[in-house]
Amino acid sequence: MAVKPTPSATDRREQVGAPIATPTQVPISVSVADEFPQGIAGFAAKAMSLVTGLGITARRAIAAPKTLSYPREKYPISPRWRGPLVLRGVLGREGIDLIDAPSVDYNATIDTLHREQSLAPCVGNCPANVDARGQNYLMADGHHIAAYELVRDRNILPGVLGRICHHPCESVCRRLQYDEAVAIRPLHRMAYEAYQSDRPAIESFPLTQQANIAIIGSGPSGLAAAWDLMKLGYSVTAYEKDKTPGGALLTGVPAYRLPREVLASEIANIVEYGLDLRCGIEIGKDVPIDHLIGEYDAVLIAAGLQISRGLPIPGANAKGVRGALEFLSDVNRRQDADVKGKRVMVIGGGNVAVDVARCALRVGASEVRLACLEASNEMPCHPWEIEEGLDEGVIAMCGNGPEMVLEQDGLVVGMRLRECLSVFDASGRFNPVFADLFTDVDCDVVVFAIGQAPDLRDLVAGSDLVLTEQGLLPVDGSVLSTQQPGVFACGEVVTGPGSAIGSIASGHEAAISIHRFLAGQSLLADRVFRPVPTFPKYGQATLDGVESARRRVEMPLSAAGERSRDFRQVELGMTRLESLNESARCLRCQSQVCVGCTFCARTCPDFAITVERIDDPGHRMVTRYDLDLSKCCYCGLCAEQCPTDALVHTGQYELAFRSRELTISDIAEMRRDPGGTRATGCDALRAQERVEP
């Protein structure tokens, strides 16, 4: 009988590495013995066995043969067949395809690339699928303006996002596997700077459609939608309640990260392209939304988040307790938040909390502390943000939750914190566990930076739009439509607090919905939604042995002591030469053009590949690619890790320079002119092309 060890046996073995059963414990399972009987019966059995054998061969002889009938039938070859290698394209000779489909077809293009496994990770991981690969390709050749225009189609504010984006592209950059990610975000910024310094004349988009559209809010999502719709030929009007446009980019992002003139110039460009931007008009107060609904063919609510969440803890109403958005808004509008010389305590561990803390330093706070539930290594903010903040003097108190605000005469005098042991439970839900360990910290101002929420009550007042009890606008998350036909919503109103690039992506989706609505199409039919590809997290490579010329351009930062007191930019940007170098580091993943990265040569176990390339900025080419097929062992390691997919296996026989297709000769083929014979391999390549659709 068979034994059935428990499944946990594997795990035990993995741990202790010792046998779990000795030979005596495993019983004999099956005996293979088989004997003929003795005597006459045995003779008969032997004779029968001979007859049985004849019967079996006869049956097989009658059945249809399994081999192929030459030359009529062909042998199907596996798509993964590892035949001789071939290089599909070479840097300096072949260009790469830019992803510049119109916005209504963009998702379909991305989806196709994804299914064909030819989507670069950076493009796939970007919520708005910005063609970072194309940007790098153009910039490496010095076409900075073209790169800017390419990026702008999907990322409406390259200069802004080039400073503040959380760059999901870089976190999946395949270059990480070899050294460091390509600096895609700083290159956006460089593209903007180049564009701005040598700006071509702008002609507004022609109006080709009858319909007009109103957009409430001039944040990233509203602008992205406006851009797409303007490009489609609609007349677009944007309403902004503030005097200056920009939405959350203006009120929420500190100037040391995003200089105001950058935002202003980017929006000014969009206005020049034909956006009718009306500032200082608050929909719901100054103009009722019904008026817009009546006057415009479609209305897009991209109002963003307005209020900070508070905490129901004792003392939360004391004077000196403030919300993060109000605080940042004050800082950004007035460069002052009435905290000069005061001690500020920021509650929260997200990016907003860090922004608040760093702003507080800049508007003169004497001491800034930041308390968050999470341990320092699991803070939700981006690691580089908190690192820069710590450099500037922010004191982080990780693993501490707010217990109560200590007040005296209605004024904040301190904060009592309670040590937090864990934030999430085993199933990953938010469920903090606290210890009975309290810390009192003296402070004068407490800023809660623990989340934001939309405030749409005024906006929808008097319309058919109904808010939920939590004050949220019910929106179909995929097509971004509201209860009322013709009214759409996008951005953080829909997604909740998120990234700027995420808002932009939702703006693009909203633009598609509006276009379909105005064209009378179904919002859903035949619509391709953006695929959500997952890319492997590449193991971080060590940098020893990587020559500095191949490393990522280091972004210069202003000195921490200097910068922490004013609102000058922290990141100083890169030079044009640096941008040429940096963009050339891009591996151009999945572009099918060899960039001479030499990874194939380094991974070949037979040392059969030699690659050389010229590395001058702005003029790069692969000068030599030697593939010694006589050494090749067809292991496939090189093709497997070719980042660009340029090196591929063909369907040919090993070293025979013939595809299996060509094993079938016909007379015409045998008699023809020897020019371009099979021996040269030309035919094999041609046959390969025939095989591939």
């Binding site: 054998g53 061969t57 097989r60 002889a61 009658i62």
Partner: protein, 316 residues
């Protein structure tokens, strides 16, 4: 003189016949073996690859005729002919049609049994003269095997002689009646098995056992000489089938005229097919097992058959 001319004509005709028989035998074996092994067999040269053997023969003729350095050259060159000629001669006594055998001799049955056995001399010569261990072992095995199987084969045929009362094949054919098939069935089986062993075919291909002796006694032969060995093997296979189909199974006695010839051909083909079928189904016996099979089972069986036939002959 006319006897010489006639003999020459007959000889040429017989040679051609054997060549055709061998060519056909090779093609047929390749086709049948192919189907047994789920393959197609020859398929491009001529319809269904029928011309494949001719192409192969041409290739073999054109190949270099290699003589090993240390071989006994004259013997080495002579050996294939010594193997082939007796096989070719054996065709001459086969009763092809009513009243017709190329060599209508009164000792035809004996002739058919005795003459092919001479080829063992050729095999010995070839194996020994190659000065190759494998070939020598193969030749010795062949000698032992062929001589052992002569006896049961002769005894099996003898039962027919008893029934017919003559050793002239045409007489045997004339006396043949369908009852003989039942009466001599064990004898026929012994004849069939012994014939397979006689032509060194599987499962009795010990002298040329490919997996042990590479190619046995003709390991060092190449080109046309090698093909003569092969022709002798296939010729012998066809000759044994023809003879068996005639004297044991009645051959052309089943139907009158041309129909009888067709039946004869069909029976022969069936026997050839059976030989191929057996070869491609069974493993090979070991030399000692082969001997004990011959002496302990085949020979006694043939003797019992002979006695039984002798007893029941008056009633048939």
């Amino acid at each position: 003189m006319s006897g010489f001319v006639g003999g020459l004509i007959w000889g040429l005709a017989a040679g051609t016949l054997i060549a055709i028989a061998a060519l056909f035998g090779v093609w047929w074996e390749r086709k049948v073996a192919g189907r047994i092994q789920m393959r197609i067999g020859p398929q491009t040269t001529g319809p269904a690859g029928i011309l494949q053997t001719i192409a192969d023969t041409l290739k073999l003729i054109l190949k270099e005729d290699i003589t090993p350095d240390q071989a006994d050259v004259r013997v080495f060159r002579l050996a294939p002919l010594v193997v082939f000629v007796p096989v070719a001669m054996s065709f001459s006594v086969i009763p092809f049609a009513a009243g017709f055998a190329p060599l209508d001799t009164s000792v035809g049955m004996l002739f058919f049994l005795a003459v092919p056995a001479l080829s063992v001399i050729g095999i010995l010569l070839g194996g020994w003269s190659s000065r190759n261990t494998y070939a020598t072992i193969g030749a010795i095995r062949a000698a032992a095997q062929m001589i052992s199987y002569e006896l049961p084969r002769a005894l099996a045929v003898l039962s027919l002689v008893v029934l017919a009362g003559s050793i002239r094949p045409l007489d045997v054919m004339a006396a043949w009646s369908p009852w003989w098939i039942i009466a001599t069935a064990p004898g026929f089986i012994v004849y069939f098995i012994a014939s397979i062993a006689e032509v060194n075919r599987g499962p009795f291909d010990i002298p040329e056992a490919e997996s042990e002796l590479v190619a046995g006694y003709f390991a060092d032969y190449s080109g046309i000489r090698w093909s003569i060995f092969m022709m002798a093997e296939y010729g012998g296979m066809v000759a044994a089938s023809l003879f068996g189909a005639a004297v044991f199974l009645g051959g052309w006695n089943w139907l009158p005229g041309i129909g009888g010839i067709l039946v004869f051909v069909a029976l022969t083909l069936a026997l050839v097919t059976a030989m191929v079928w057996v070869k491609w189904t069974y493993p090979r016996l070991r030399a000692d097992q082969l001997m004990s099979f011959a002496w302990k089972i085949m020979t006694p069986a043939a003797i019992v058959q002979l006695v039984v036939v002798a007893v029941i002959a008056p009633w048939l």
